[in-house]
């Protein structure tokens, strides 16, 4: 390694990071033109930098969440939620009713006479096509989840089952109302946003049914 290489090589990382001064850049580039060895180091440093930045995330083990929950509970950092059927039924009914109202009545931009969305017709057509596809995907998933949840509810004690059924009925009512608004305001993105939010809500609720511990 020449004396000049010994001077230039420590600056190659900063050069690769594009954080050298103009004077340093000129000096390094003049050297690189005449030095294949430093040129190769620079090429490797750039490749390495790119590969490190692209390293994929590493998944934590599946049971880490459960262990952490136990520790957080023991330390009083989180509180255990009572199972849904042990919570006051009115709380859930009111929550679902509030969801219905929020979705249908309180969102600005819903309902007749709302302002049409900006954008060209072709752009908006594409967007509504994607939204319809999103709805289809939700419907397919919910259809399968409905069957599994119904099976799970058949195994439940009557009171628990009734609580779930009451809330499910309210969520279905929310969906029906949201769907009606989308039909009447098919070109209103806010109507779609809240219909999809209602689908998400139903997915969450069906997941809760399926995950309920009957032991």
């Amino acid at each position: 390694m020449s004396e000049e290489c010994r001077h230039i090589e420590p600056m190659l990382s900063e050069y690769a990071d594009e954080s050298v001064s103009d004077a340093q850049r000129a000096q390094i580039e003049a050297h690189l033109e005449a030095c294949p060895a430093c040129h190769e180091i620079l090429r490797d440093l750039r490749r390495l930098k790119g590969e490190l930045a692209d390293l994929p995330p590493v998944r934590p083990p599946a049971d880490l969440k459960r262990r952490l929950q136990e520790q957080a509970l023991a330390a009083g950092l989180i509180t255990k939620r009572p199972p849904i059927w042990q919570r006051p039924a009115t709380g859930w009914v009111l929550a679902a009713a509030a969801c219905l109202l929020v979705t249908v009545l309180l969102i600005p931009g819903l309902g007749p006479g709302s302002t049409p969305a900006p954008g060209s017709t072709a752009e908006m057509n594409d967007i509504y096509h994607d939204l319809r596809n999103a709805e289809t995907l939700y419907l397919n998933a919910i259809d399968r989840m409905d069957q599994l949840a119904a099976r799970k509810m058949n195994e439940m004690p009557p009171q628990m089952r009734q609580t779930f059924e009451t809330n499910l009925a309210l969520i279905n009512q929310t969906l029906a109302e949201s769907r009606t608004y989308v039909l009447e305001n098919a070109r209103n993105p806010r109507a779609w946003e809240h219909l999809l939010a209602a689908y998400q809500k139903k997915v969450e609720f069906l997941s809760l049914i399926m995950e309920t511990d009957l032991g």
């Binding site: 994929p56 950092l77 009545l105």
Partner: protein, 200 residues
């Protein structure tokens, strides 16, 4: 129903949001209040990233599990301090990284065992790897990274993987930005030579 319209249930309003991170302060308060459901969302949103940082800082799967567990408990105790000046994600990663650095400092006397090949395969996200040659090269890189001296590995992880600036690294490690720059160059050169050894 009319009375409800004035005060929609906060939990429902919270869960109605489609985009995580839309309201970081509300979310952080929910987590700080001890809400179990918010904690689950908090975990789902940040666990992989925080585990990845821990894993790459220490190069050991078992130790990174302990570190991730400890950092989440630390964050649960600190999340009430989040004030929304940065995004929740930026704030958490900074707090977590500082925690990891000080955690590992107290572990200095202990020598971490290097990962076995099976353990590396098990923890790396293989879904994103379409070609086995890419996977093998990545394993070489992960292995070389784990073999770096602790100081070099820390600088590389913070700068090249996590994207922190030299000034931020200097602040975290209590060194000067100039030292951070020169350490980074030495670390990259060491990693290069380790990889050349692996590839030969």
């Amino acid at each position: 129903m009319g009375a409800l319209a004035g005060q929609p249930d906060q939990d429902v309003m919270f869960r109605m949001r489609l985009l995580p991170g839309q309201d970081d302060i509300a979310f952080s308060r929910k987590v700080a209040s001890g809400d179990a459901r918010a904690f689950e969302q908090f975990y789902e949103r940040f666990a992989t990233r925080l585990f990845s940082i821990a894993y790459r800082l220490c190069g050991d799967a078992s130790l990174s599990e302990d570190m991730t567990q400890e950092v989440f408990l630390h964050l649960l105790r600190k999340v009430h301090l989040f004030n929304g000046q940065a995004s929740l994600s930026t704030w958490l990663h900074r707090v977590a990284t500082n925690f990891y650095i000080s955690y590992l400092r107290s572990y200095q006397p202990k020598k971490y065992p290097h990962e076995s090949e099976e353990s590396l395969h098990k923890h790396l996200d293989q879904k994103s790897s379409q070609q086995s040659s890419t996977l093998h090269h990545r394993l070489d890189l992960e292995r070389a990274l784990a073999q770096l001296p602790d100081g070099y590995r820390t600088i590389i992880v913070l700068h090249d993987i996590e994207g922190y600036k030299h000034e931020e690294i200097a602040d975290m490690l209590d060194i000067s930005p100039g030292t951070s720059k020169s350490q980074l160059h030495h670390a990259r050169m060491k990693l290069r030579s380790l990889l050349q050894g692996v590839e030969q």
